[in-house]
Symmetry: C2
Subunit: 385 residues, 2 copies
């Protein structure tokens, strides 16, 4: 029986642990939270992510190591000398933890990306704004996620407030991107260099937080998206980007690339060197979920299929879980409660609605949105297939 260590014990680790059990793999997680969602289902080392001794202890106890979020301190992982047991490796973390390096990598690999400028002084910022014009977005290079660590500059008056708020260095100014749609592509690469990509996922964010994700069976047949564009062309462009990034790091495991669709072209936004919220639909609507494919890659097992096997819509539950008594009445709704305490803004669970074809899916969707708190979702969903 193989054993796997996971640095981080949140919901992504939890879903990895559940899938690992089916593969007969025992997990152990490292997380400072003594009631971490994944720790409820396996052994846990309660320690900070930069606790070198704890990292070493985890590594010694397992056959393979991975992480469930990209802000694990790269320096600590390096110091703990986890070597080839760790996949993905440390190199991708240096880039994924830094918006500037990330965008520079896109440029270097010939991946289309919006305008950006490093900002380390007020002069830098003014020069950068000369190039991008208003609106633009000022962001911290590090530790930003779910819309945190950024300020929108609509006009010159916003500049001072943002400058005070964000501190004066290690910033990046990005041109404001007016996109038609948001996508992500999730791929998996094994040690032999084989890469498989799931179909593009269409995402909807609210206040910087992912609200829902959609994949359709039409994408297997390579039809058209709701804007009349060929899936084939978009998919090829996205896969080419993902391949280039994965090659760059000799990457092993699941890798996610978030993208904006602007005027028929995909622009790279950011990478996540891990399983991703926008891939949760794959638990029910793919023959091999992102969690299983990550495990297969990390444990050197054959990669699984990445086609869509059902119409699917993933909905995040934010702050608190909705009423299960009501929602479990909707057929084809798959419930995922992360075992967390309710807290405003916190991702506490998700559900994936599935249908074997579009007619069944739409019927179920209408049943779903008839329930509060999903009535207002209808507007969001108009934009999806």
């Amino acid at each position: 029986m193989q054993t796997l260590g996971i640095i981080g014990g949140g919901q992504l680790a939890r879903m990895l642990v559940l899938q690992a059990a089916a593969l007969g793999v025992r997990c152990q997680v490292l997380d400072p939270n003594p009631d971490a969602g994944a720790g409820q289902l396996c052994q846990q080392i309660v320690a900070d992510y930069d606790d070198i001794e704890a990292l070493r202890a985890l590594s010694d106890a397992v056959d393979a190591l991975t992480y469930d979020f990209e802000n694990v301190p790269a320096a600590a992982l390096q110091q703990a000398k986890l070597g080839t047991k760790l996949s993905p490796g440390v190199s991708v973390l240096h880039v994924a933890q830094d918006r500037l390096k990330e965008k520079q990598l896109f440029q270097q690999l010939g991946i289309e990306v919006g305008g950006f400028h490093a900002v380390n002084s007020r002069t830098d910022l003014l020069e950068a704004l000369d190039q991008t014009g208003y609106p633009a977005v000022l962001k911290t290079r590090r530790m930003g996620y779910d819309g945190k660590g950024q300020a929108l500059l609509r006009q010159q008056e916003d500049l001072e407030r943002a400058w005070q708020q964000m501190g004066g260095e290690d910033l990046i100014l990005e041109a404001f991107i007016t996109f038609q749609q948001e996508y992500s592509i999730i791929g998996v690469r094994n040690r032999a260099g084989e890469v498989r990509c799931y179909p593009l996922v269409q995402n909807v964010h609210e206040h910087g937080v992912l609200r829902c994700s959609r994949v359709s069976l039409a994408q297997n047949r390579r039809g058209q998206n709701s804007l009349g564009q060929n899936w084939d062309q978009l998919q090829t462009q996205a896969e080419t980007c993902l391949h280039a990034i994965a090659e760059q790091f000799d990457y092993v495991g699941v890798l996610t690339l978030e993208l904006f669709l602007c005027d028929g072209r995909l622009l790279a936004n950011e990478i996540a060197p891990r399983v991703h919220n926008s891939g949760h639909w794959s638990i029910e609507a793919a023959d091999c979920s992102q969690f299983e494919n990550h495990l297969r890659a990390v444990l050197d097992l054959p990669l699984g299929p990445v086609t869509v096997s059902a119409e699917a819509l993933m909905l995040n539950f934010i702050g608190t879980m909705p009423d299960a008594q009501q929602l479990l009445q909707v057929p084809g709704l798959h419930w995922h409660d992360y075992g967390k305490q309710a807290r405003p803004g916190r991702k506490v669970g998700h559900a994936t609605l599935c249908g074997t074809d579009l007619a069944q899916f739409r019927q179920r969707l209408q049943q779903l949105v008839s329930h509060r708190p999903f009535t207002q979702l209808w507007t969001l969903l108009q934009d999806l297939q």
Copy 2:
């Protein structure tokens, strides 16, 4: 967050625990084996099933209680006064633990069943054989499973050996049934009395142990089985039986009824008051698995859909797990390793092969049977749809 106690910590409890996690339900199991498959994923009380204090401690720690096998001593459960926390209740165990009571119940409820006779003496046996003729099967009334505790009497010469071997009382003689096919029906009943049944599963046993189970999408459309019989008619007959049994015990949870198909009619064989090996396909090929529906019933949540959502074949792994490196290359093969030590005759895992339609399923099946140890499966599978 709700909590569930499970008496028994084998693979059925393990799969309940995995599904419970998605529902945000924390489990605790009671099992004498300190490395029980389910105990690897939740808290475990290591104690014998008739340890009244341990049963009480489990009951006090949880909101609801269930069991994962039918040979939990009914007397101990009664003595522990688990009351309405326990579902299914104790009454069904008295019947499910006794082949004679079981067959008498079938008769009482008007459910078709093969000939049987209580045997408590040599005279009983001879009288019973006068009625059934040879061949017949002599079985212990209690503790038989997977073909254990039974002897086939082909001719008069077998009588003495069997009589010596089986002991002289608490036996049942059953007429030998020549069946065309074996089926099971799995249903779920909630506290309000609502019953939902999955489509009939076709099963193949080898040496008394379940080898594989098959469900097809054709069953949703109520087409015909491989013998040209209407699914509709068979399904209706099986559901009527299951309803009657469930009503009898005011049953809450998943209930399984095993059936023989003889000359176009279904004969009841035995019941299992629990999730069942022949329902494992439902994890991937139904919108709500037998495990989830059992949890929903026991925890008083709405029941989920029971239709088939993919072509599916479940294969048991007996004795040892096959080579994952080879088999995970088969697309649509879902792997379930129970985390057990290999041991001859032991169920150590299963896999379910799925396909979105019959063409894809057959293609994948051919790929599967090209791998050892599944080459010889082909003959077994000829009989399935």
